[in-house]
């Protein structure tokens, strides 16, 4: 380790301690365990800064925060999963004594599958789970494909129908827009031509754009034909509309993202440094 980096380390450490003490003293009387709470707040402030420091360049503090984050979060999900799924959902179904041990009310049988009690049917996922773990063994690894097949297969079937319905059929049928909105003849159309948003012309133009836009978009996503000639033109219009959309959605998001940062900085300046009342 270079001397400079050691010095930086020490400085940061010193600042950490100072701020901790200052925080603790400022919280004295207001809160009990002020030392401990002072530490917690200072530490989370430190982590916040560590992450932000990444914007300058990768550095030991970021690495520290990152690795800590990875470890803790993995463990967090593990515990979550254990309590909510295993204890919350599995155990109450398979064994009364165990659920008594974990102090969770047993769930009544629903006699759902093949008239087997849950206590039996719910061993199936356990077995599948164990099969999955078997992949760690050299020669039994292949069996881990079975639970995988169960998951992938059932979700594939699940997705197939639902996406076909919501992303395909319903989208297509909602493309059936009237291209002639309350049409009362060409003369009437031109005599009443105006540009206000609810006017006939604007609504009609809108419908046309939507209809042609969808068409061209689909043409752009055509793979089995070279994009040439009229077809090529269609696909070009398609990509134009796509680009406009992407630009729009990007611009739309900007504001919201900024307020995220506001939240963090308010924590730093307010909760930690106490610069804002």
């Amino acid at each position: 380790m270079k001397r400079s980096s050691i010095i930086i380390m020490l400085v940061v450490l010193a600042m950490f301690v100072i701020s901790w003490l200052a925080k603790a003293s400022s919280m004295a009387g207001v809160e009990d365990h002020n030392i401990w709470h002072g530490f917690l707040i200072t530490f989370s402030a430190f982590l916040t800064l560590a992450i932000l420091s990444f914007l300058y360049k990768d550095n030991p503090f970021y690495k520290f925060a990152e690795h800590l984050f990875v470890g803790v979060s993995a463990a967090y999900w593990m515990s979550m999963g254990f309590w909510t799924t295993i204890v919350g959902n599995l155990i109450p179904r398979i064994s009364n004594s165990l659920s008594a041990f974990f102090e969770v009310p047993p769930i009544a049988d629903e006699w759902a599958l093949l008239l087997l009690p849950d206590s039996v049917t719910f061993f199936i996922p356990v077995i599948l789970g164990i099969m999955l773990l078997l992949r760690l063994s050299r020669n039994m690894g292949w069996i881990s494909a079975w639970p995988l097949a169960f998951i992938v297969g059932s979700t594939a079937g699940f997705n197939l129908v639902r996406y076909l319905r919501s992303d395909f059929i319903e989208q297509v049928s909602s493309t059936f827009v009237p291209l002639l909105v309350d049409w009362q003849g060409t003369g009437h159309f031109f005599s009443h031509l105006n540009l206000n948003a609810s006017g006939q012309f604007v609504t009609m133009a809108g419908n046309w754009v939507i209809f042609l836009g969808v068409m061209c978009g689909l043409i752009y996503f055509f793979f089995s034909k070279e994009h040439k000639g009229i077809f090529g033109f269609g696909s070009r219009v398609g990509i134009w509309i796509l680009m406009v959309t992407f630009g729009a959605s990007f611009g739309y998001t900007v504001m919201g993202r900024i307020s995220l940062l506001v939240g963090r900085l308010t924590f730093l300046f307010g909760d930690w440094l106490g610069l804002i009342s």
Partner: protein, 213 residues
Amino acid sequence: MKRQVPLALVFIFGIFMIIQYFIPHEKSEWVYEFFLDWIYIIGIFALALGIWSLIRVSYDKIKYRRPNWQYAAITLLGLFFMILFGFDYGRHIFSAEGLRNYMFVSFFDYILIPIQATMFSLLAFFIASAAYRAFRARSALATLLLLAALIIMLRFNPYFGAVTPYIEKTAGWLLNVPNLAAKRAIIIGVGLGIVATSLKVILGIERAYLGKD
């Protein structure tokens, strides 16, 4: 055996789920709900597998003194303590108080939340740098992207947007008309892609997820 059984399973469960969709009856609903529960439960075992992989990778890092091996130790420590607290010794070890354990909660509030929120807030910076880098009128397409973004941003900037009704109108139109059209085209395409791929999976044509033989 090694190949056929999984493919058969995929086919059976896939077809079952499709049929189930058309049977509103309680019985089929039950089976369906059971499957969802099962998937969660299997997921937990898989998570154990993942944790194992995390531990092994970090452990190797330390063992062979790979670059940044010191930090791997931090990961392991964090993991170890969080699990320890998570599986708390409230009434007796493994009491459902696990998630309410004081240290577990403070780790969550003072380590996970701040880092998570900060990572998320990095977006504010990146959205700016991305805009600066990419929104340049290099080509016709890039210009379209740029203009659309500018109009919408002006619209939602409380100071420009409010004053010029023209921008307000245009932005509204952009969001309601071309935006709708393009999104719909993408959605239809994606929908088709998903349907086709699911079908390929069920029919056992797409089997990369099993690792080819």
